[in-house]
Amino acid sequence: MPALLEARSLHAGYGETRVLHGIDFAVEQGGVTALLGANGAGKTTTLRAICGMVRTSGEIRLGEERIDGRPTEDIVQRGVAHVPDGRGTFFELTVEENLRLGSYIRRDRHGIAQDLERVFGYFPRLRERFRQQAGTLSGGEQQMLAIARALLLGPRLLLLDEPSFGLAPLIVQDIFAILHRIRADEGVSILLVEQNASLALDIAEQAYLLETGRIVISGPAAEIRRDESIRRSYLGY
């Protein structure tokens, strides 16, 4: 099956600092791809690079098109939803307004309403808190809100940046259970960045390991999970 997203020789950085040194990876259509690595390895930068939020050189293809060098808004138009690190919630706005913004670029009111119902199916707590100010939500709820907002775009590709970050283990379990459901029901391709390797490898088909801006390991997630030496040296478990 052709990859939905493909990156080739991707370099990226901030100002004078280069963070990614020519990496290659792909996200399969309809699958989950995990991007693992320690802090500072360049995982967040990779997602930002895909979204046009940092300066890049190299190729990034979404489907048939090249998206490198395009502004973020254009890339979003093409069906890429990014749940950034830190959630990126609009704190001053209500849950409802946050969700409405998720579907900002869409015009199909009926479709949006349907998707909203489905999203409430995954995250019933958001329906309860619909009119609350987003900044008053707990960390876990904000993560749910961020994912919900991204889903409301109706994306082809969902980028998740460390959904487990800063959350209690039970909540993380809940969220990943929901991610499993989303992955099964929605048909959206997911690129998952995670420090928590075991959670990520549990849900992904493909995995890449990033170390100081270079990909050092890549392959089927199941294999990587089975390989004890990789687990011990790189993934810490």
């Binding site: 830190g86 959630r87 990126g88 919630t89 704190f91 001053e92 900044g135």
Partner: protein, 352 residues
């Protein structure tokens, strides 16, 4: 090195005296105003350029100095030269007093407040309670002083030399302050106040003192200006005086002592030239040049000249001239995605 510098300055001074004998009284009057404005702008440079406190209201100090001199001369017959020290002290005190609340403001908020001060000043000057001294809306007319010791000079020639002398002293003083420990402390506060505080600099004291010093300079300039122009009235001290000083500062070079002279030249002569085109032209010219400088030449003329010199002379220790460093970047004050959202950050020295 210091001796060479002093000799150079003396040489410049001698050269600067020459116009006294070469130019007409009117041109001398214009040059005298250049010196006056240069001193005023130097005051602003001390505060904004070297200490990072943005003031859009220095016209207020200029007005205070002018009125102190005018009132003393007109109402009490004090000789012109004796009014300068009084004016200096009065303005320093006002500067200190204004510097106190200014401690809690930074960047944009200080600019806003000083802007408000400048707008309010003419109204204050016209107030009835002060009228017995200030002459109200009509203002005061003062006599041009005669040269002392019966020197064979016209009053304009004498005033030029007098202002030149006062200016030279003030510039030397400023140059000394900036080069020394106090100057470095001032600039440390401007560039990174947190680090400066950690190094033991008493920020509050230094900032208010800098405000006082700056006010003193611009106040003395106001006094000189009053003597030279022979007239003070509330409507001559509106918001545009402050704005023009600001423009002169930026054009000359924000953190530059020499640049203040160019700033003075700029605001004395450009309006004259521009007004020939139309009454409205000076404002437009100022505005365009101000924006152009901000975009193209943030170091002003002095910065430009300095960079030319630096090309020819390696290892020149020059004070950083870019106003681009003054005040933290606006972007740093935007806390996107932080609970509570974008906060008004007055800066200042409140600590957390």
């Amino acid at each position: 090195m210091a001796r060479n510098a002093l000799l150079a300055i003396l040489a410049w001074l001698v050269v600067a005296c020459l116009p006294t004998f070469l130019l007409s009284d009117y041109h001398l009057f214009q040059l005298t105003m250049v010196i006056v404005y240069a001193i005023a702008i130097l005051g602003l440079a001390i505060l904004t350029g070297f200490n990072g406190q943005i003031s859009l209201g220095h016209g207020a100090f200029y007005a205070i100095g002018a009125y102190v001199t005018a009132v003393l001369m007109y109402q009490y017959g004090v000789p012109y030269w004796a009014t300068l020290p009084v004016s200096a002290i009065v303005c320093a005190v006002f500067g200190f007093l204004i510097g106190l609340p200014a401690l809690r403001l930074g960047g944009l908020y200080l600019a806003l407040t000083t802007f408000a001060l400048a707008v309010a000043v003419p109204q204050l000057l016209k107030h009835d309670a002060l009228e017995p001294w200030t002459g109200g809306v009509q203002g005061l007319v003062i006599d041009k002083p005669d040269p002392p010791f019966g020197l064979d000079l016209s009053p304009d020639q004498w005033l030029y030399l007098f202002s030149l002398f006062v200016g030279a002293v003030l510039f030397l003083l400023a140059w000394n302050v900036v080069r020394g420990r106090i100057g470095r402390a001032m600039m440390a506060i401007r560039d990174h106040s947190l680090a400066a505080e950690a190094m033991g600099i008493d920020i509050a004291l230094l900032k208010t003192r800098t405000f006082a010093l700056s006010a003193m300079y611009t106040g003395i300039a106001g006094s000189l200006g009053a003597i030279v122009v022979q007239f003070v009235a509330p409507d001559s001290f509106g918001i545009f005086v402050s704005i023009y000083f600001f423009v002169g500062l930026v054009v000359g070079g924000v953190s530059s002592i020499g640049g203040a002279i160019f700033g003075g030249l700029f605001i004395e002569f450009v309006p004259n030239l521009a007004e020939k085109v139309s009454k409205a032209a000076p404002g437009a010219v100022y505005g365009v040049i101000l924006i152009a400088v901000m975009f193209l030449m943030p170091g002003g003329v002095a910065g430009f000249v300095g960079s030319l010199f630096a090309r020819f002379r390696r290892g020149t220790k020059s004070v950083e001239l870019r106003p681009a460093m003054i005040g933290e970047s606006v972007a740093n004050n935007v806390s996107a995605g932080v609970p509570g959202g974008a906060e008004p950050d007055p800066g200042g020295n409140r600590g957390v």
